[in-house]
């Protein structure tokens, strides 16, 4: 019988309106490197959050059996106590503090009531030795590069006597050398008896390092491949990742001729504000009137950054070079307002974070981006506002008792519809939809697709950013594939298929 350190059995986790994990079974052998792959939204991170206690016991169904015992983690501290440590993509270090302070942050070495700093420094040195980082432990963490910061995170995990280490896309922001070093370290840890679960999009790495590969899709376990028995091919993993058949959940629209190119970005290059590299390099894309263009790529490919930096650049990315053309005329947007006035509207992927004002009602949100249209003299015509909000509520089938309902109380799908209603009320000619169907149910998705079809019929142009491959393939006329800040492919939908796109997106040529 196999020796499993961890068995997750029948895990189901629901968020309002979505089933994020659907009866997942996931087993990890003691001392192996287990890779977890799947598209964005497949449930990888949610599963790890269930495991580490972020989603506490009772908010999901199913059992976690760790080291032969059923566990009921109520918070991260509970799982840490049992030797499970998780390292997130966004590092959780405190930049101003020294390496040794960071390593023992939250579980300080104490003598009596005071922290024993001498012992801390000695122990931190030993941990750094283990991860192969030869620097002065009293350096502030911000002086280290991302790769070395990652090593400090691992050292921190080791200092807690970790037995099961979870890494969420550890190499996503590393260059090749650093990635190589990290992977070597993970192998080294394996030899020392640490079990490791690694989430990654980089298939090459996975094949190089994994003992077992588990593929998740739509919150379900698709398969677990044993890589110790035979060599696994990238194409095999890709097939499992995208394997879902593209059913007819994408409403057809009649073929129609596209107009002129009405929006174009040329040679767009943006520097990464935090690191010495380009976030976007030499990106050129265009969209014609009446066309839906998909912008596909994995998380971190730079799609949202592209949209935001073009849309008036509210987060002030350092733009190195590039030009924007509307209807063939060169323009420049110095704030979102300029872009909106020119007819370009961006619907954020993060509807709660920067799409909607949740404490306000539907009518307030709907009209916010174009109050000018409702202003008579100095005042807002509140009757006209209600009429307009009702019109959009009906058009988009927003389910709420009235337009005076607070947006924060609506379901995800309806919030997304309000977000789109808001952008449509600004009467755009070019619409950028960033992950328009993330986290919403199938019914609402279908409605949004239908609406998109209707809009392009009316002559609007849409750029759809999405990580969901079937969606991009099902909805776009043409698509660009982005990877690491570059456009690495442009395909007509007729000539594209899931595997071709995924191969481009994960950077295998």
């Amino acid at each position: 019988m196999e020796d499993y350190i961890l068995e997750m059995q029948g895990i189901t986790k629901e968020f309002p309106g979505v089933r994020a994990l659907d009866d997942i079974n996931f087993k990890v052998r003691r001392g192996e490197i287990h890779c977890l792959v799947g598209e964005n939204g497949a449930g990888k991170s949610t599963l790890m959050k269930v495991l580490s206690g972020v989603h506490r016991y009772g908010t999901y169904t199913g059992d976690i059996i760790y080291k032969g015992e059923k566990q009921q983690f109520r918070r991260i501290a509970d799982s840490e106590k049992k030797g499970i440590a998780i390292i997130y993509q966004e590092l959780a270090l405190i930049p101003e503090l020294s390496i040794y302070e960071n390593i023992y942050f939250g579980h300080e070495i104490v003598k009596g009531h005071a922290i024993d700093w001498n012992e801390t420094i000695i122990q931190a040195g030993k941990m750094l030795e283990k991860v192969g980082l030869h620097v002065d432990p009293s350096l502030p963490v911000k002086k280290l590069g991302v790769g070395n910061q990652q090593l400090v995170e691992i050292a921190k995990a080791l200092s807690k006597n970790v037995e099961l280490l979870i890494l969420d896309e550890p190499t996503a922001s590393l260059n090749e050398d650093d990635s190589e070093r990290l992977l070597r370290l993970i192998r080294e840890l394996k030899n020392q008896g640490v079990t490791c679960i690694m989430i990654s999009h980089k298939l090459k790495e996975i094949i190089a390092i994994a003992d077992t590969i588990t593929v998740l899709r739509d919150g379900k376990t698709i398969c677990s491949l044993d890589a110790t028995e035979r060599q696994i091919q990238e194409s095999e993993i890709i097939k499992y990742m995208v394997g879902r058949e593209i059913e007819d959940i994408y409403p057809k629209r009649p073929k129609h001729e596209f107009g002129e190119v009405c929006f174009e970005i040329k040679n767009w290059t943006v520097k990464d504000p935090d690191k010495d590299r380009d976030l976007l390099s030499d990106v050129s894309i265009n969209v014609r009137r009446g066309e839906i263009v998909g912008l596909q790529g994995l998380m971190g490919a730079g799609r949202t950054e592209l949209a935001m930096s073009v849309f008036g650049n509210p987060t002030h990315y350092p733009i190195r070079s590039g030009e924007i053309y509307m209807d063939g005329k060169k323009t420049h947007f110095s704030k979102p307002k300029d872009a909106i006035n020119a007819g370009l509207v961006y619907v954020s992927e993060d509807r709660k974070g920067n799409g909607l004002i949740l404490i306000q009602d539907i009518k307030y949100n709907t009209t916010l981006a174009n109050l000018k249209a409702l202003t008579k003299g100095l005042s807002i015509d509140e009757n006209a506002e209600v009429v307009a909000a009702n019109e959009y509520k009906e058009k988009l089938n927003i389910k709420a008792t009235s337009v005076e309902k607070r947006v924060g109380d609506l379901s995800g799908g309806n919030q997304q519809k309000v977000s789109i209603a808001k952008s449509l009320f600004a009467k755009p000619r070019v619409l950028i939809l960033d992950e328009p169907t993330r986290g919403i149910d199938v019914g609402a998705k279908y409605e949004i697709y239908t609406l998109m079809n209707q809009l392009v019929e009316e002559g609007m142009s849409i750029i759809m950013i999405s990580s969901e491959l079937p969606e991009v393939l099902g909805m776009s006329d043409r698509l660009y594939i982005m990877s690491e800040g570059r456009i690495c492919g442009e395909l007509l939908t007729e000539e594209a298929d899931a595997e071709k796109v995924m191969r481009l997106a994960v950077g295998t040529r």
Binding site: K335, Q360, Y364, K372, E382
Partner: protein, 395 residues
């Protein structure tokens, strides 16, 4: 019987939904009745109510401006000494440079605008946090206040027009009236009529779009109760000296700010920025510009508050401005401005200011020590905000 049950359950529902607002009114009523009983009715006498209005003017004006600042999630600690300094400048312009009072007032309001502009630019363009900018302002304007009065000490203002602002009353219609102030009664009637008209119109509009409205009996009850309350206050004032000029000034400021916040694009932008500044920015709102405006408006209102305060004392003193910002911030929060921003009404802020100033006035009448007054106000302030935060969380 069945119908009564319906109304009863509606009342319960309304109370549950608006508990925050109702508590505020109840608190004000309780405070007023308490002081009235402790002072043998002296607190609610016509004379004292007039006094209360005159004393509250500067706090009300500051609190209105502060509400806007707090809605957009900033703070202004400098308003007290900006007011104090403005009052001193007004007094100096009139007494030492012989300015006409109206010209002096205009100059001081412009100065307030420039002070707001200076602080607003620091906050929006240079990114200095509002807390720091206005804390520095507190130092600076306290210093300037002292410097400007250093040579002369307290300046007595003798301009009659100026002093009327916080001590005078609107004139009565010549030829009519004896003991009772007729014009006051007429204005009261107009206010009630306007109030009834706007409420009924709003209700009709809501019904037109099938929005939720309260049932008719409750609607009528609310209208009658509020109208009666307004008339009671007006009647009391009319039998004393009439409506104080301070009330007129505060009412004008209140009406303007209420209109701007409720009915204009600027108002929408203010709530939007407070609710989610990133979403507001992405919706094409000029976040920097609106923030700058809010601090400018605060500067002007601080100057106006300084004028009212100086007029009330009929002199400019070195202690003017001490603790004003505390009363203003407390008024806005007691009036239901959300600590997390994005929510707040100037009309409720006025109630908050009334609560704070009733406490001051009532405790003064009772002869409570000033240090004790701070403690009491602090406790009531923190209870109000704690209650606010709790009720919001439940929603």
């Amino acid at each position: 019987m069945k119908k009564e049950n319906g109304i009863l359950s509606e009342i319960v529902q309304l109370t549950r939904k608006n508990i925050r607002d109702y508590m505020m009114y109840i608190a004000l009523a309780v405070i007023m009745l308490f002081f009235s009983s402790q002072t043998n009715g002296g607190f609610l006498s016509a004379r004292n109510i007039t006094n209360l209005i005159n004393q509250s003017g500067y706090v009300a004006v500051l609190a209105i401006g502060m509400t806007v600042i707090l809605i957009i999630k900033h703070i202004d600690l400098s308003v007290g000494y900006v007011a104090g300094f403005s009052g001193a400048v007004a007094a100096i312009l009139m007494t030492q440079y012989g300015f006409n009072e109206w010209v002096a007032i205009l100059c001081v309001l412009v100065m307030g605008l420039l002070i707001g502009l200076y602080q607003g630019v620091l906050i929006t363009r240079l990114g200095v946090p509002a807390f720091v900018t206005t804390l520095a302002g507190m130092f600076i304007f306290r210093g300037l206040l002292n410097l400007s009065l250093q040579k002369t000490g307290t300046i007595i203002v003798r301009s009659e027009g100026f002093n009327l602002l916080s001590n005078g009353f609107i004139p009565d219609i010549p030829g009519v009236g004896g003991r009772t102030h007729i014009l006051t009664l007429i204005i009261g009637a107009i206010i009630v009529a306007a109030f009834l008209f706007s409420q009924i119109k709003a209700r009709k509009n809501k019904q037109k779009y099938n929005f939720e409205v309260v049932s008719l009996p409750i609607f009528i009850f609310i209208l009658v109760a509020i109208s009666a309350l307004i008339m009671l206050v007006i009647y009391t004032l009319a039998n004393y000296s009439g409506i104080p000029w301070t009330a007129v000034i505060v009412a004008v400021v209140l009406l303007i700010y209420n209109y701007v916040l409720k009915k204009t694009r600027l108002g929408r932008s203010i709530y939007g920025i407070g609710g989610n500044d990133q979403a507001a920015e992405l919706s094409g709102i000029n976040v920097e510009g609106v923030t700058l405006f809010s601090f400018c408006s605060m500067g002007v209102l601080a100057a106006l508050a300084g004028i009212l305060y100086t007029s009330r004392l009929q002199s400019a003193t070195m202690t003017a401005g001490l603790g004003f910002e505390m009363d203003a911030i407390a008024s806005a929060y007691i009036g239901g401005t959300a600590v997390s921003g994005g929510v707040g009404k100037v009309t409720n802020t006025i109630i908050g200011a009334l609560i704070i100033m009733s406490l001051t006035n009532g405790m003064n009448l009772m002869g409570v020590d000033i240090s004790m007054q701070y403690v009491v106000k602090g406790i009531i302030f923190v209870i109000a905000v704690a209650f606010d935060v709790r009720t919001r969380m439940k929603k």
